[in-house]
């Protein structure tokens, strides 16, 4: 059997590893203090001292991009974690047991997913207030319905497979059947959705920070940098470009992984 190279997956993994490497570096060390202002060196273009130039307060953009990407990355991961874990539990139990609770939860999920998620996030934010951690909660909760639905569908599919009947016949109890035999078999599908979910979370965080309700100043976030940069788009284009490229690269890497995983699954099924 000759293996076909999965270039999307390889490229995506490489890009994401590079990004994560930079992000981890940003947590440990940055060339400058990302929040240190220096009125003497405002809006400088990229140079050897300031790799990506400086912003309107004279802060080093490279350092801010590193830490901003870190914040964005953490928010994305936390959101996907909340949505994924709750989605797996809710979808798992709904798909396995069915019944009226299943009907109720899935109809609710239908209703919630019918609205644009950024709109709902704004509603939640207006209720609980803005800030980094509140954004994580708002987006995480909003991601639960779609993950639940996905997992529920996969569980329902796996449940009718003979190996599940076989496990039950061998005496495995419900929880073991669900957690050992069914849920792991939903992960291949779940994995690429998690990657897509991560990207949506990154974009949502960027949009919300752009609107000023996400990460609060002076902490850097890619979305807020983008929003601040637009004033100086013509005088200091490197500011907007740095923040924008960081978002694009982060999303591109994870998007390629999602695509690669999906492609591998399609070939496996064939």
């Amino acid at each position: 059997m000759k293996k076909r190279r999965n270039y999307n997956l390889i490229l995506g993994l490489a890009l994401t590893c590079a990004m994560v490497g930079l992000i981890v570096m940003g947590w440990l060390w940055t060339p400058f203090d990302p929040n240190a202002m220096d009125p003497a060196s405002r809006l400088q273009s990229p140079s050897l001292t300031h790799l990506l130039g400086t912003d309107n307060f004279g802060r080093d953009i490279f350092s801010r991009v590193l830490q901003g990407a870190g914040a964005t990355f953490l928010i994305g991961v936390a959101v996907v974690l909340i949505g994924g874990v709750c989605g797996v539990l809710i979808g798992g139990f709904c798909g396995y047991y069915g019944g009226w609770l299943d009907d109720l939860l899935m109809r609710s999920a239908d209703i919630i997913t019918a609205f644009p998620s950024i709109l709902l996030a704004l509603v939640i934010i207006s209720l609980i207030g803005a800030g980094k951690y509140r954004i994580i909660i708002a987006l995480g909760v909003l991601f639960i319905p779609s993950f639940s639905r996905l997992v529920r569908g996969e569980v329902a599919r796996c449940k009718s497979q003979e190996y599940v009947a076989n496990a039950r016949l061998m005496g495995a109890k419900d929880l073991r059947v669900l957690f050992v035999h069914i849920l792991p078999n939903t992960f291949p599908v779940l994995l690429s959705s998690l990657a897509i979910g991560f990207n949506n979370a990154v974009l949502a965080e960027a949009s919300m920070s752009y609107l000023g309700i996400g990460v609060q100043p002076p902490d850097p976030s890619l979305g807020r940098m983008l929003s601040e940069a637009q004033t100086y788009f013509f005088s200091a284009p490197w500011y907007a470009l740095s923040a924008g490229c960081a978002i694009v690269l982060l999303i591109l890497g994870v998007g390629l992984i999602a695509d690669g995983l999906g492609g591998r699954r399609r070939r496996d099924r064939a």
């Binding site: 003979e162 061998m170 005496g171």
Partner: protein, 262 residues
Amino acid sequence: MLEVKDLSITFLDDGAKAVDSISFSMAPGERLGLVGESGSGKTVTALAIAGLLDRGRVRTEGQILFQGLDILSCKESELLKIRGKDVGMVFQEPMTSLDPLMRVGPQIEESLRVHSKLTARQRKALALQVMQHVDLPDPETTYRKYPHQMSGGQRQRAMIAAAFISRPKLLICDEPTTALDVTVQAQILNLLLRINEQSDVGLLFISHDLSVVRRLCQRVAVMYKGRIVETGPAEQVFSDPQHEYTQRLVAAIPSRGKGRRQ
């Protein structure tokens, strides 16, 4: 050991009666064949006996007495006690009857995990022994394989090992050889025969192929559209079929020498 009395099974979603008041019984260690064309209700009957029907989705009438316990009306907890210990089942499709993400060895041990107090080491030793018994090649290596690394015949042997490891009283085989090619089919049939003769496990062998059932079983029940239309000793049903449907089945068996088609 097993007694099915006036069993009827109706699917609630479409109201179709898949099984219509069938009755038969099995003695310990007996090999009973259940024959019929596809869609005649064989699998549904097998699932009912194994207690695997979704009680919320079907309506059942009649009784299935297995060692005195009524499978249809007993509590789920009582079912758990006999599942994997007293009843084993081998499914038709070896591609889908093993968990694709779990190594084969642990799957063979599954019923021991629930029903025995053996340690992991003892379970593995027993699994290797049973794998040897069902002629799986190189048990130590096979133990660590995933289902997709095995052939259809090997997977079916693994299924038999899993079903047999806790020495059940009844082994239900639902068309276990239909998906296999002819030579492997013959090997699996011989294996089932050997297992039956060496222990007191009863075989409920389900097939659409009367000639296979004739080779293996002592008694035959012929199913047609959810009903059992004829029962009797295999040779007798085969040589002197009473029901018109059985006669057609027998006539459809290609005789030796004419060349068998797959």
